[in-house]
Amino acid sequence: MKFSDSISLQGLPVRRPPPLNRFFSSTPVSIIIYCFIVSAILYSSFTGAQSMGYNWQWYQIPKYIYTYTEDGFQFGELMLGLWKTITLSFTAFILAMVIGLLVALLRLSGLLIGTKVAICFLEFVRNVPLLVLVYLFYYVLGPVFKYDRYTASILCLAVYHSALISEILRAGINAVAQGQWEAAKSIGMSKPQMYRYIILPQSIRFMLPPMTGEVVHMVKSSAIVSVIAVAELTTLGQNIISDTYMAFEIWFTIAIIYMIVILILSIGASQVEKRYTVTN
């Protein structure tokens, strides 16, 4: 009888997986299968497009990203849209942090009315679809309070994400040990002082990882404001398509642009997560 190579923790020989499994999980075979699946998808969409009589015009795409003429280098429409997406998400995120902090503090205030108001707000925002929220902010609140579509989109995204952010903040604040509150109280600190000097500085390490995830989430959900025609990446894409009918190329390009931006953010987020992971 031939002994197998590996021995388990209990000291028993590990049974090797059957040959068929070993064949399929070996690296070269996996790569071949992967390439096969990807090319099958690409091929079928290409032939599908072909049979629709679709006229691929990839050569048109670069000019929407950048142009280089005698006037010099210029960003194309899609890049301008991307810039708008980024500034929009960033502004909305800052506002969401402010609202989120207020809601979290209301909820933790211990005042019955504060807690109830916060819970009502959270339940409303969490149980209404984002798309409906966008319409509400633009078509209902917009005329009432007289603001434009850009403001509507920022407010809407901020309110939607503030609900999630307030939960992150609340969890972070609750994660600080009870003894810290007591120690801060016993040296005579007022509630704002306790939050500012003792509790919030300590809860940041609990909050940072989910918060960076929230930034990524914000950039993704910002695409929805294209329904009220705010000139961000998705909207500009739609505009180009209605002019040129290059739906396939433009949507692929936009997906890839989002993917690149969000991948960069996600890598940043996971770095932050590694640094601040609570070890004790």
Binding site: A183, A184, K185, S186, I187, G188, M189, I198
Partner: protein, 248 residues
């Protein structure tokens, strides 16, 4: 004697946690400069009693006055009052994100509004007093338990309070570190500070206490000066308890 008005005064104080009565009709007072040691089995309400003094717990009925101010739930005075009452906890509760020096100065600077430079001089003086002046720049996690507790004592001293409360200050310490903390506490007792201390360290109690208090099931069973308390306590319950913890 006018100057002997009690600085802490409990009058028929009751405290409930839901249906459980943690304090039953507590009446006791502490004079300025008095050193009181409270002992008793766990769950007897001694921690609750001491935490009522600076309003970390609020009592449900009766009257509690500290330094001439009535303490009750929602009192506006309590924040100012807490500056006069230092507290040392079983679990130290140092601020982990601040250095030792910052732990000591944050109260004086942010609460008492003392200039930072002045607060640092004071902090170093008190670190000297608890015998760890060389640890000022470290973070709490870098210190041993005994050192952390001495920092916590220095932190409450920095508030220059009139009263110091100790809630089982040595119970979370390794045995070899207990004495370094008790030594500091004995030195403090010699300065004439008003101290209320919940502890099972009977050697310490014998050395410093003016008054010994024994509690059981939320009631004060015995109040006596240490000579009498350790030799012939009135209640059987107290004698049993002392026998048990002095056996070793």
């Amino acid at each position: 004697m006018l100057d002997m008005l009690p600085i802490i005064k409990f009058e028929s104080v009751d405290k409930f946690y839901g249906n459980f009565q943690a304090l039953k009709d507590i009446t006791i007072s502490v004079n300025p400069g008095e050193r009181m040691v409270i002992c008793g089995p766990s769950g007897s309400g001694k921690s609750t009693l001491i935490r009522c003094i600076n309003g970390l717990e609020s009592h449900n009925s009766g009257r509690l006055t500290v330094d001439g101010v009535e303490v009750f739930e929602g009192s506006k005075e309590i924040i100012r009052l807490r500056q006069e009452i230092g507290m040392v906890f079983q679990q130290f509760n140092l601020f982990p994100h601040l250095t030792v020096l910052e732990n000591l100065t944050i109260g004086p600077v942010k609460v008492r509004k003392i200039p930072k430079s002045e607060a640092e001089i004071m902090a170093r003086k008190y670190l000297e007093r608890v015998h760890i002046p060389e640890q000022a720049e470290k973070y709490p996690a870098e210190l041993s338990g005994g050192q952390q507790q001495r920092v916590a004592i220095a932190r409450s001293l920095c508030m220059e309070s009139k009263i110091l409360l100790f809630d089982e200050p040595t119970s979370a310490l390794d045995p070899e570190m207990i004495n370094e903390v008790l030594d500091v506490m004995v030195e403090l007792a010699d300065t004439g500070m008003t101290m209320v201390c919940v502890t099972h360290e009977m050697g310490f109690a014998r050395k410093v206490a003016d008054t010994m208090v024994f509690m059981d099931e939320g009631k004060i069973i015995e109040v006596a000066p240490p000579e009498k308390f350790f030799s012939k306590p009135d209640s059987d319950r107290c004698r049993e308890f002392l026998e048990q913890i002095l056996e070793h």
